[in-house]
């Protein structure tokens, strides 16, 4: 058992820190600091993508020959941790983290040559068309039809919760090419331009007043069969590969640390009716300590997962629990932040969250994202499999119930 970092990794951490300190402009930091969801301001993300591309640090999950980096898992963790600590904005994940690995595994040479460089450069902005209205956590029940018509498919149906579709020029979709057999068996994976005739993008306004998701409608949209990623009816396998690929990859503790840092700062600034900082109020401090311990426990679950992966093990059981624990804990932390923000939860001041904003704020600046963050984060226990579905999966796959 060992918690220490190698000398090489210590040096790498210093290198990352130095780079971040230099590269992050105040505006980029603000974009990172006041994130209210897993996304940052779109423009800021794109700026940050270009900076990382120039540095050669954009795609640690891609093989070097495709423009990636040969970082170890430890190095990836270090980069992620330090980026969040330094307040870097989030990257737009749909292409670099999601489509990229699938293209590299299943794409034709031509698809790879054409699409991968444009992902890295930011010329192409991709969005993901998986979920459908009414399908929810039951992804395999998807209905959007792709009917064969010579060398093309004709698409009809609709996709929902398509993040950043309003910014995208491309979309990758799971579509139904066969209605026979198991629902998973008739699904294909299609790549296409989002401005094809028959595609309409409708923004969805979230309860925090922002648009991050869209509904995308398809009416007699013609897509060449050459745009398949993988074979026809192999779409479920292609999409599942990403889950395998990501297995144990996401670390909730990093974002939770960021939240905790904000809360502690706010608790140092805001004062109770007894005229002490909330951070020094025994009751508040105790509630915070309890959640901090919960975070610490999750952090070491995630370290165990990484250590197991590094050692070639299969931490499947542990990996299955981090989403439930991480998201539910983040929502409990939100409650503390709400209490600190107090009456200043009310003002609707979304413009203040813009990275470029430089004016006054209502209430302390530290807390300006609290209400929006809280509202947005209610979705964290819903998307990607609800907390209930996650528990069903653990009960079945881990406990054999």
């Amino acid at each position: 058992m060992d918690l220490t970092l190698s000398q090489a990794n210590i040096a790498f951490r210093e290198e990352v820190k130095a780079f971040l300190e230099e590269a992050l402009t105040p505006e980029l930091k603000r974009a990172g600091l006041y994130m209210t969801s897993v996304f940052s301001d779109f423009e800021a993300s794109l700026v940050w993508q270009k900076i990382l591309l120039k540095k050669g640090w954009l795609a640690p999950d891609w093989p070097v020959e495709y423009g990636g980096i040969d970082w170890t898992l430890a190095q990836k963790s270090i980069f992620l941790e330090e980026s969040q600590k330094a307040g870097a904005p989030a990257l737009i994940s749909m292409a670099i983290q999601m489509l990229g690995p699938m293209l590299i595994k299943y794409g034709t040479q031509q698809q790879q040559d054409e699409l991968l460089p444009r992902i890295l450069s930011g010329e192409d902005i991709w969005c993901q068309g998986y979920s459908e209205p009414g399908a929810g956590s039951d992804l395999a029940s998807l209905q959007m039809k792709a009917v064969s018509d010579g060398d093309d498919y004709i698409l009809n149906g609709s996709k929902i919760w398509t993040s950043f579709a309003q910014h995208a020029n491309k979309i990758f979709c799971l579509v139904r090419t066969n209605t026979e057999g198991k629902p998973q068996a008739g699904i294909s994976f299609l790549l296409m331009d989002i401005d094809l005739p028959g595609i309409t993008v409708d923004p969805i306004v979230s309860i925090d007043g922002e648009v991050e998701q869209c509904q995308v409608f398809f009416e007699d949209v013609r897509v060449p069969k050459g745009n398949l990623l993988g074979e026809e009816n192999q779409g479920w396998e292609v999409a599942k590969y990403l889950l395998e690929f990501e297995r144990g990859g996401y670390s909730y503790y990093v974002a939770l640390n960021k939240r905790l840092k904000m809360i502690k700062q706010l608790a140092a600034e805001e004062v109770t009716v007894d005229d002490v900082a909330f951070g020094d109020d025994p009751i508040f401090a105790n509630r915070l300590a309890e959640l901090e311990v919960d975070k610490l426990a999750l952090e070491f679950v995630e370290h165990r997962i990484k250590a197991s992966l590094l050692a070639g093990g299969n931490p499947g059981a542990l990996s299955s629990m981090t989403k439930v624990v991480g998201t539910e804990l983040s929502q409990q932390l939100d409650e503390l932040a709400l209490e600190l923000r107090g009456s200043y939860l009310s003002p609707l001041q979304n413009h203040v969250l813009s990275p470029a904003y430089q004016g006054e704020t209502l209430g302390s600046e530290t807390g300006i994202s609290v209400m929006n963050g809280y509202l947005n984060n209610r979705a964290a226990t819903i998307y990607g499999g609800t907390a209930q579905v996650q528990r069903n999966i653990i009960a079945k796959l881990v406990l054999g119930l």
Partner: protein
Amino acid sequence: MNFEYSEDQLVFKDSVTKYLQDQYDFEKRQATVTSDKAFDQTVWAQTAELGWLYMPFSDLYGGFGGSAVDTILFFEEFGKHLVVEPYLETLVLAGGVLGRAEHSLSEEYIPRLMAGELQAAVAHFEAHSRGDLSRISSSAVKQGDSYVLNGKKAVAYNAPEAQILIVSALLPDNRGVGLFLVESNTTGLELQSYPTVDGRVAADITLQDLEVAPINLLAEGDKAMSILEATYNEALLGLTAEMVGAMDVLLQATVDYTKERKQFGTAISKFQVLQHHMTDMFMAAELARSLMYAAAIKVRDGAADASAFVAAAKAKADKCAKQVAHSAVQLHGGIATTEDLNVGHYLKRITVAANMFGSTQYHLQRYQKLSKA
């Protein structure tokens, strides 16, 4: 013991329910919220005609002399429909202070409030008050006969719409808090107005050498504090009732939705875990409602432990309503995180209500201190 509304109250409740059902569906509410108006003046005018605005005022002023029990009756319905019209701010808060002050200005303004001619707001709390009525820093000094006020007031709901504001400040010579009535166009009153996440308007207010005539001092010292305490107790009951009403709607909406919504081949209402979530929502709503009844009766009867009961009822309703709202969002899934569905708007109002005039934790501590004494 008896927890039934009286015949008169039931007749009144029915008329409120009927009006809101007919005139205040979610689409109409959202049309108001997204318009450039703070609220629907037609609703205000119609409900003035229906006599709603007479309810909280004593017959001294020609009002109906409604009690705290009438307040919860009203606000439970408002909570069900997410009513954004400023009944709490204009009637319960400003009207409440005016009515309890029994000042010559009360006679002047209350009839206009009852007629629906006037909007009002109370600007008492400041950024650091956190629900504690005595924690204000704004101060008044004497200048000749007049008072000159300086300070900053935080998140005064309905202030941007109010023609009259009741502003508090610490009086000179240790006279304690003074409550001043100020016309909104008075020099020295600077409003920074904004919309709120729960579909209303509010303002932060700077008092900059605000000169007020002595006649406009409604009350001071112990009397002012007891007016504030009684008024905010009533307002806290109003918020509690709003949350109770909101819980009923959220529970029913969730029951209905889960019966319709299919996943993995069955209505999701058949999943036992979701059933238990809804059962817990039901119990939360009834627990909060029961304590609200008790608190309203205590306030109406002027019981010694009325404030303790209000604090307890508010803290319990906060906790229950947040639980219910969170479960409602969770069980509706993605759709409830959008502006299109009403569920998220209940969540927003509940979140604000649970932190308005002091946090849940503050009221819990208040209960603890009051019940110990």
